[in-house]
Amino acid sequence: MGEKNYRRKWNHWSVKVIVFYVLVGFLAPVISNDLPLLRIDQGDWSFPFLNQDQEYNSSLKKKVAGFEIYAPFGYSSGKSDPFNMSFRGPLNQQFTENEKGDLVDIPYAKRHWFGTNLLGSDLLADILYGTRISMFIAVIATLLASILALFLGFLAGWYGPGSLKLSVVKTVLIFLLVFYWCHLLLNIESRGDGWLGWIVSVFIFIILIKVIGKWKMVSSSNFKLPIPVDAIFLRFTELFSAIPRVILVLAFIQLLSASILSLIILLAISAWVDLARIVRAELQSIKSMTYMDAALMSGIKGVRLLLIQVLPNIWPTVLVYMLYTFAGNIAIEAGLSFLGFGLPATVKTLGGLIAEGKNNFDAWWMIVFPGLWLSILIYAMFSLSDRLRQTEN
């Protein structure tokens, strides 16, 4: 049953499409590159494509006598083809130079199938490399968001309203720690030790909490305070779901300058809410099941219990929502680039390509191809999540 169900679940066109995109992302430099993948020159094996910067070295550009293997598409992203500059469309005439130095029609093997942009960079190569960056950002952001969501969702679902009890002193200390963090963050620039102070303060507080925890009088039950973890969690989810994601990311990208890392962090921070809510709800419903009682009886505790017993059971639902999050991340990244607030324009992403195209009224391929490419990916995500949901029921 399990085997069959599994097959039924995953045997879907959308899986193939997503795998295709992932592969394209991984292999972009191998699929499309203007430098040889492999060069055997008098017994020396080298992989010139690994070092895109070697163009600086003119000695490497010379013709070699040995054997070379090239990628299926002979263009690298961002490198311009001087004969096909200023928006050469896929249907337009494209040129190349023959050995005598005359302009001739380009052979089919070297055609720009998706056209070129203003500087003569091959759009197909740009799309492939753009997929790589966009997928990377979206995948990492989704993973981070899921980890955050699982953690917070578990916390809330597990402790519920008031089953977590902390000593008063500990509570106060944790509160002070959070406050101190915020305080340091607020003028981190004017501090001699910058981030180091931030990190060290955490350790000091943890040690303090541990030391005080050993103190009998404090840790005795008289001083304990029920912490409404669930309520706090719900308020935070309400806060984060109330602020529109685009606005949240736009606002914070002004603080951290736009880079791949900051974009990943911001996407992760703004994406955890829905998933965390689902995790919490699932955990609550699971908690009352008999097998949980059995597991508790057998002595499995804490994190292990969650990982062994709970996670496999809520995994299908989590996966569906992870796919949604992923699609959302890709779309938001594209939207930000379109608005001009995404990554620095020297980094090619799918959204950035569309943004480049929208300034050029007649170069339809600059908008149509990246747009379709992006839509198909998002569509596959939605279809897969839909499929998973249906087979689950």
Binding site: L176, F179, Y180, C182, H183, L185, L186, N187, E189, S190, R191, G192, D193, G197, V200, S201, I204, A231, L234, R235, F236, E238, L239, S241, A242, I243, P244, R245, V246, I247, L248, L250, A251, F252, I253, Q254, L255, S257, A327, A331, A334, G335, F338, L339, F341, G351, I354, K358, I367, G371, L374, S375, I376, I378, Y379, M381, F382, S383, D386
Partner: protein, 462 residues
């Protein structure tokens, strides 16, 4: 019932406090120095005297209330002076902090740092220090004791400082807690004024989000009409799509075995996958293009705000033609999402036993779907519909950009362009506030409706 109401309102209140704290945090964690930013933005780069610059900088700093501590209580390293957060100059703060951490002698560091900064502005020798570590700097000064501007006293102080080096290294981690009655958060939130600095605020409680850095105008006034336009569009989209989605969902369920109902799903979901900005551009190129269908204008409505809300609203309504493409761009994904939701929920609903009974009794399929089942579906659809609301507000950013609508998104984008943080945090706060209130209202509404529906079901099934 009353207890539910009160509880929900209390919850909203807590969320609101979080939102206030969050917005405050956003408006204070800034890269660089706001006072300096305002001065460079509003004045040109033509130099006046250094002295005049420092003076106007300090005035601006105090006028913005930046000399106050951030919060009701502040935690500061033992080694730093009480007034550390009050100090205006970031360079000075950095230097003071480094020196105090270096030696553990606060008062001595203070006087040395003061002298350093004063010299930095006139003396080339002192202007290149920041990039290197502080101990290198100290050694450097001690080694170059013949450079002009270094006097006996400074040298003595520095060597004293060097003797103390690392004696109190650990002290920097020990925070001391101080209470501040007058602080930036309080003034920002509840209003008040700070004597002698010219800082006055009514507080966001009374709708004062401060002054725009680049335009200088009142942020609330600047946000009012843009926000109304965005709100109007978003609510309008909800009001139109909601019944439409119910109809569509019902119709799809009714004909779910027909071929066109079968292909609708992939088609609609694909449309849903198309990025909004792409769709907007495509709509423009199709429906506002004399080469294709020249039906609608490309430009944005001209809305005059000087003559009050009523005339603004009417002029908006009269210029409905301008709103059609933005409306579609904003609404198509909501419509698809909600209609698919209704479709799914209705399909599930049709499997329930009461539907069998109804069929047996001889109710028409149409009536079952559009009347009996639809009632049960309504509540979850309303809840989901409201969860779309922040998406609509966020979508306005792209709509405003594409069609130059004078909405909140345009304001936000402009503010982001110029790093105008009072506007950015204002927009964030207001959009959060509106969505939170809408969530609360939906919750109250559904808690009202739910028992009724259950009751009626009970009656019919029983």
């Amino acid at each position: 019932m009353k207890s539910i109401l009160i509880k929900r309102f209390l919850q909203t209140l807590v969320s609101l406090i979080l939102l206030v704290l969050f917005s405050f945090f956003l408006s204070r964690v800034l890269p660089g120095d706001p006072a300096k930013y305002i001065l460079t933005f509003n004045n040109s780069q033509v130099v006046s005297s250094q002295e005049g610059k420092t003076k106007s900088y300090e005035r601006q700093y105090r006028q913005m209330g930046l000399h106050l501590p951030y919060f009701y209580f502040s935690m500061e390293s033992r080694l730093l002076p009480d007034s550390f957060v009050h100090l205006p100059d970031n360079d000075f703060k950095f230097l003071l902090c480094s020196l105090s951490y270096y030696s553990g002698n606060t008062s001595l560091s203070y006087s040395i740092a003061k002298e350093f900064i004063a010299k930095k502005k006139t003396n080339d020798f002192f202007s290149n220090f920041q990039s290197e570590g502080i101990s290198v700097t100290v050694d450097d000064v001690l080694a170059n004791n013949n450079v002009s501007g270094i006097n006996e006293k400074l040298l003595v102080d520095l060597s004293k400082l060097k003797e103390d080096h690392n004696n109190h290294y650990w002290k920097r981690w020990i925070p001391s807690i101080r209470w501040n009655a007058k602080n930036q958060f309080h003034l920002w939130c509840f209003g008040g004024k700070s004597e002698g600095s010219g800082f006055v605020s009514k507080g966001i409680v009374r709708g004062d989000f401060g002054k725009s850095w680049t335009r200088g105008g009142d942020v609330f006034e600047m946000m009012k009409y843009p926000f109304l336009l965005t709100l109007f569009l978003s609510v309008f989209v909800l009001v139109i799509t909601f019944p439409l989605a119910l109809l569509m969902g019902g119709w799809l369920t009714l004909y779910q075995r027909k071929w066109y109902a079968k292909i609708q799903k992939p088609l609609l979901i694909f449309t849903y996958s198309i990025p909004t900005f792409w769709m907007g551009t495509a709509l423009l190129l199709f429906f506002a293009n004399p080469r294709m269908f020249d039906l609608l204008p490309t430009a944005s409505p001209v809305l005059e705000t000087n003559s009050g809300f009523v005339s603004w609203f009417f002029s908006l309504c009269f210029q409905w033609k301008y709103l059609i493409i933005p409306f579609f761009t904003l609404g198509y994904s909501t419509l698809i999402y909600l209609s698919q939701l209704v479709f799914e929920l209705l399909k599930d609903e049709l499997k329930k036993p009461y539907v069998m009974t109804l069929r047996a009794v001889g109710s028409s399929e149409r009536k079952i779907i559009f009347y009996y089942s639809m009632k049960n579906v309504l509540v979850p659809v309303i809840v989901s519909g409201m969860s779309v609301f922040p998406l609509l507000l966020g979508g306005s950013v792209i709509i405003d950009f594409l069609f130059t609508m004078p909405g909140m998104g345009l304001l936000m984008l402009q503010a982001c362009d110029q790093k105008d943080f009072p506007i950015i945090s204002g927009v964030l706060f207001v959009s959060g506030l509106v969505t939170m209130l809408s969530f609360t209202l939906t919750d109250l509404f559904t808690s009202q409706v739910n028992p009724l529906i259950r009751y009626s079901n009970f009656k019919k099934n029983g």
